[in-house]
């Protein structure tokens, strides 16, 4: 300490010797944490980790509470971004080239078929898992105050996911793509007043062609992902600001410290103390939280590895479908939309307006309004709470109805949309 003058001749050499360590410490502020203080600072001094709170409630980590569905949706989106960017290097959004490029993806591009499989199955997976996440949030009453608006953002995210999937569906430019988009955009044409205009602007022409392919491509690879990332950021940010994930009432607030007869302790506000909300812990009150590092991170890592593994295995064994090239003279019979729109298509076969615009519009409007209509505060944070029997029953009925329509549309409809049995 007090002999700097003696070491001065060696200082340049010392700097050289310590260079690797200095570089390392300039990038990573903390060693692998071994104390609570280090665990805390690992979470909030690392760019990638500071999205996490320093501590999380134990309930948040219960696998059977969240089932990791929101995380899984996020990781599927991550896989879609990575595989999608790679596919962009070989794809051309042109009616004369797109289909050939799909064939090349199968034949000549290294890992092309595998990347396309991953992209396709992750897209299907994301729609499915995002919907399950919505169901989880509903059945645990997690949309209630103060999380109403995050539910609204979640519903918008689901709609953006569906639109992403819909725009991606056209890009292979095969028969499936062409006719599914022809049918899908015609449904948009049934919207009152602006329907036909909307369809024309969406397609850039009166029917599906080069303009539509280009427009859907730009929406799919640039516009919608940007919207999605922005909304995801708000969705995650609000989880923190709304007091973390929902949890049962009895654990929502920390036990108050008995104050009678005790000298009032001057409160010490940590960084978290400035966050408003009903669940903020201020001062040293007992709670039921654990440090995010390593508890939350390990849980996230587990979900990540699980998601990637499932997609990898599915992509190894199942090839993404590619039908005949577009032939505008011969629609396949029946022409079916992707499975998550088959419930819609089934309803559309009864009435184009009510099946395609009226009923779905009403259902989406109901989804948006749910947290503002259901104002009870009981039964939050538990699956199928008795207090929420009515709400859960109505929601479950709607889910089952939709699933039934999807099953009918998928398995029980044959040529000319006549009723057939799948066996």
């Amino acid at each position: 300490m007090n002999t700097p003058t003696v070491e001065k001749p060696e200082s340049k050499l010392t700097a050289l010797r310590e260079l690797p360590a200095n570089v390392w410490h300039s990038i990573f502020r903390n060693p692998l944490p071994s104390t609570d203080h280090e665990r805390a600072s690992t979470s909030f001094t690392n760019f990638f980790l500071h999205i996490h709170p320093v501590k999380v409630h134990r309930n948040t980590l219960r696998p059977l509470y969240t089932m990791g569905l929101g995380l899984m949706t996020t990781f599927l989106f991550l896989i879609l971004v990575v595989t999608g960017i790679l596919l962009m290097f070989y794809y051309v959004p042109s009616t004369t080239q797109a289909y050939d490029r799909m064939l090349d993806m199968r034949g000549t591009v290294a890992f092309g078929i595998f990347l396309r499989n991953m992209h396709r199955w992750s897209a299907h997976g994301m729609v499915g898992v995002a919907f399950l996440h919505l169901c989880r949030v509903f059945f645990t009453g997690a949309y209630k105050k103060p999380r109403e608006f995050n539910w609204v953002i979640g519903v918008i995210l689901l709609l953006v996911t569906l639109f992403m999937s819909f725009t991606g569906y056209l890009l292979p430019w095969d028969q499936l793509a062409f006719w599914a988009i022809t049918v899908g955009t015609s449904i948009a044409g049934y919207a009152p007043l602006i329907g036909k205009q909307m369809q024309f602007v969406l397609l850039g022409d009166t029917s599906v062609g080069q303009e539509a392919l280009l427009r859907f491509y730009v929406l799919h690879v640039a516009v919608l992902p940007a919207v999605m990332v922005l909304l995801m950021a708000i969705h995650f940010w609000r989880i923190r600001k709304d007091g973390g994930l929902s949890r049962p009432e009895q654990t929502a607030l920390p036990e108050p410290v008995p104050a009678a007869g005790v000298v009032k302790i001057r409160k010490v506000y940590g960084l978290q103390g400035f966050v408003r909300g009903p669940f903020t812990k201020v001062g040293n009150t007992p709670d039921d939280t654990v440090y995010s590092w390593p508890n939350l991170l390990m849980a996230e890592l587990f979900v990540f590895v699980l998601t990637v593994s499932i997609i990898l295995v599915i992509s190894l064994f199942f090839a993404a479908p590619l039908e005949q090239p577009v032939n505008i003279m011969h629609p396949p019979n029946p022409a079916k939309a992707p499975w998550y729109f088959l419930g819609l298509q089934e309803m559309v076969s009864y009435s184009a307006f009510w099946g395609g615009i009226g009923v779905p519009g009403l259902m989406v409007a109901l989804l948006f309004l749910v947290p503002y209509m259901d104002r009870g505060t009981k039964g939050v944070g538990r699956w199928f709470a008795k207090e929420r029997l009515l709400a859960n029953t109505i929601f479950l009925a709607m889910v089952i109805l939709n699933v039934i329509f999807i099953i009918i549309g998928t398995f029980f409809r044959g040529p000319n949309w006549t009723f057939v049995t799948p066996f």
Binding site: V183, S207, E211, I328, V348
Partner: protein
């Protein structure tokens, strides 16, 4: 009230007239900003609505009347029309399903859509399925070069034929 000056308020106490001007300016700026945003939104819509389309033209010639012998119903699938010739009369009926835009095929009784099972009679009237409207008839004229010209931009009453 007017005489109260809070410690962080740097305005002189006698500047009540300035408050009025400030509020007016703030209001004008807000209106300007909101108006600009509205204009931007409108110009977006104008931008995205194409002024030129590159697909199938709406007015086109399909051949001489002799190419369509009397009594035939010939579907021209690329143009999505069906040319009906009865005696000396010619008409063009749309083959785009009025339900959801699939191509309808010619069937024994008229037209049938493979997508959702809509059925039409020989004149394009709906006989079954979810189709909400009959198939439109397009305006047909004889061009100076002797070819039949179809104009998909203008529809005519069903049953209106062109004598050739």
């Amino acid at each position: 009230m007017a005489g109260v000056v809070r410690s962080h308020d740097r305005r002189p106490a006698s500047a009540d007239d300035k408050v009025g001007r400030r509020r007016l300016l703030a209001w004008l700026s807000s209106v300007g900003l909101a108006g600009s945003a509205l204009l931007a939104a409108v110009s977006d819509v104008i931008f995205f609505k194409p002024r030129v389309t590159y697909g199938q033209p709406a007015i086109f010639q399909i051949g001489k009347p002799d190419d369509f012998p009397p009594g035939t119903r010939i579907a021209r699938e690329a143009e999505r029309i069906c040319i009906v010739r009865e005696g000396n009369r010619v008409a063009a009926i749309s083959t785009t399903c009025t339900h959801l835009g699939c191509s309808v095929g010619i069937s024994d009784t008229g037209f049938a859509c493979p997508c959702h099972g809509s059925r039409y009679d020989q004149d394009g009237n709906v006989t079954g399925g979810p189709a909400p409207k009959p198939l439109p008839w397009f305006k047909v004229t004889l061009a100076p070069n002797g070819e039949i010209e179809v104009d998909k931009n203008s529809t005519v009453d069903p049953g209106s034929y062109l004598n050739v």
